[in-house]
Subunit: 339 residues, 2 copies
DNA sequence: TTGAAAGCGCTAACAT
DNA sequence: ATGTTAGCGCTTTCAA
């Protein structure tokens, strides 16, 4: 039964034996060291093929804890959010091109999980990390930055430390959305915020306020609701907004999931969009056109965010000394029919 | 700068030194071996805390290549598909409860990537694997089964080997959808299939055909289109269906992404659903109610699929000898307004 | 150009 | 109850 051995690990020593060389030589061949006799190299490569040898990544990482091992860690706040899925795809594609594997951890906005996964990632000796910290003062992540492990932050910065960062123009994006709403004639424009401790939530809020002011609309605190960036809070907070004595006539939602939640509420109540209430979302989805009605939304270049951050991370791994860069990507208002 | 050391790895030996015991004792404490003097245990635990020692997972895995190391591999065909995201969440929750970490690999239906990731997973010495193979004769996965590594297949089986499996009633789910369509009076019911090499695609097709037959509808080959399970193929194949001389009056879509693609086409053409063309999807989404119109769909218990498969895997890791089980979960027709 | 040998951090015999 | 030690698979001096 030959197949029994198909996946039984073959070690470098077995290759060495069969090729009649030392383990060091096999290692050199694997790592493309120049100091190998071409004939020896050929012979070793031959045996590697025959034996279907694959290097043991675990042993390699243990040995080279401080060198590069082609392994990146990714810490995602919420895999249910299509935005992060797109970011992840961007990261993945770049990683794949550069022969990096990924350990992806989804901590579901749960700080306890975040800590656990962070420990695991470090304990796995990843070469670097892409993370969206739970908030600006996330001490666990700050410590990692200070420790010198290559890291790039996505979507959310960190205070007091210098770190590579990829974000979007949250304030401007929000501004453009709310400004558009105001210009359409809406007067009671509400904002459903994601987790208020996130810089992005606050930046979006300030864009909201500025647009209100610039359009001569008075800010009404009862029209701003703070949630936890999830579908359910979209459902719930939009209900509150619609239950107001003087209800919102338009809602600006702080992210994807909130948008979907708010839509659910609006549809359950049988309200018409935009006639009864208008809605505009932060975060576009590729199927926004198929929503009822086609959703007007602020598009973040999610895939690009992932791509850029992975590029930055790999650069930093290659050159730990290069100055940190902070990258701000533009958003785009996708005008459809929901307001 | 004390923080510089916050994350510099502390080894078991440093703990041993400081506690005045041998490395073996520290190891025993970590692994809750009973043969440790309570006082010694306490002292060691104290030092572990002080030094903020975390075991090095890599060393542990290298050492115990054949024991359990609390690491599972997951091989996902398409992370853009919300169905798999839900499956993943189910897996994750069970893994987290049982203190397993996950390496998640998304191979994007690309066999080359699948092979690479499989090799990486094996090379990382995972304790077990949850995989959705590219097709029934996926030799790479079959070999893994034969090698004896614990594995459970999700959504798609394997021919010729006995393997733990979690699937849904694809035929019945499809049947109920198409039957519903037929009973509503639709005559030209089309099917947009995902990758035809997937067992699930073919089972859904047979449910489609059976429902047609049972309702006295003749099967028309031009109404069946085969795609690659992606959004784009939904866009394209629905166009073909609508361009037919005698076009479809209802479309049964083979998965989530195809549904979204078909909706896009229908909306771009300004067609009304269900008056001009009806649609029913395999796979529900929690925001289906917010689509235009609220989508009627066959719901798969995605989270449950993930949960069950992770449970099965952990069971098998614990007891490699237990007989294989094949689990078939039920689907549910969610009737809304798209047909 | 090649080989011998040490060591990464951990666990499990085995010995005490 | 505790310690000594070998070895998991790999890379990298150092020596030849």
């Amino acid at each position: 039964m030959a197949y029994e051995n198909d996946y039984k690990a073959v070690s470098l020593y077995e290759v060495a034996d069969k090729a009649g060389v030392s383990s060091a030589t096999v290692s050199r061949v694997i790592n493309n060291s120049p100091n190998v006799n071409p004939e020896t190299r050929l012979r070793v490569q031959q045996v590697i093929k025959e034996l279907r040898y694959t290097p043991n990544r675990v042993a390699k990482r243990l040995r080279n804890r401080n060198a590069s091992n082609n392994l990146l860690g990714v810490l995602i706040p919420d895999i249910q959010n299509p935005f992060y899925v797109e970011v992840l795809r961007g990261i993945e594609d770049v990683a794949y091109e550069n022969k990096y594997a990924l350990i992806v951890c989804n901590f579901s906005q749960d700080e306890k999980k975040e800590k656990l996964y962070l420990d695991i990632l470090l304990s796995e000796s990843v070469d670097g990390l892409i993370a969206a910290p739970t908030h600006e003062n996330d001490q666990k992540v700050i410590n990692i930055v200070k420790s010198g492990l290559p890291i790039v932050c996505v979507d959310r910065g960190l205070t007091g430390v210098d770190v590579d960062l990829v974000v979007v123009e949250n304030r401007n994006g929000a501004y453009s959305a709310v400004d558009f709403l105001a210009k359409q004639g809406y007067k009671r424009i509400a904002y459903i915020s994601g987790l208020p401790q996130l810089p992005s939530s606050r930046q979006r809020e300030s864009g909201y306020k500025d647009a209100l002011a610039d359009n001569g609309l008075v800010f009404d605190g009862s029209l701003v609701k703070y949630g936890d960036s999830r579908h359910e809070s979209g459902v719930k907070l939009s209900e509150e907004l619609l239950n107001l004595e003087n209800p919102a006539d338009a809602i600006f939602t702080g992210n994807n999931l909130i948008t979907l939640g708010a839509l659910e509420t609006i549809h359950k109540r049988g309200l018409r969009i935009p006639d009864d209430v208008a809605i505009i979302g932060f975060d576009d989805m590729y199927w926004s056109i198929s929503l009822n009605p086609p959703l007007t939304a602020v598009r973040q270049p999610a895939y690009e965010i992932g791509k850029r951050s992975a590029e930055l991370l790999i650069q930093r791994i290659t050159d730990p000394a290069r100055p940190t860069v902070s990258m701000t990507l533009k958003t785009e208002l996708m005008i459809r029919n929901s307001c």
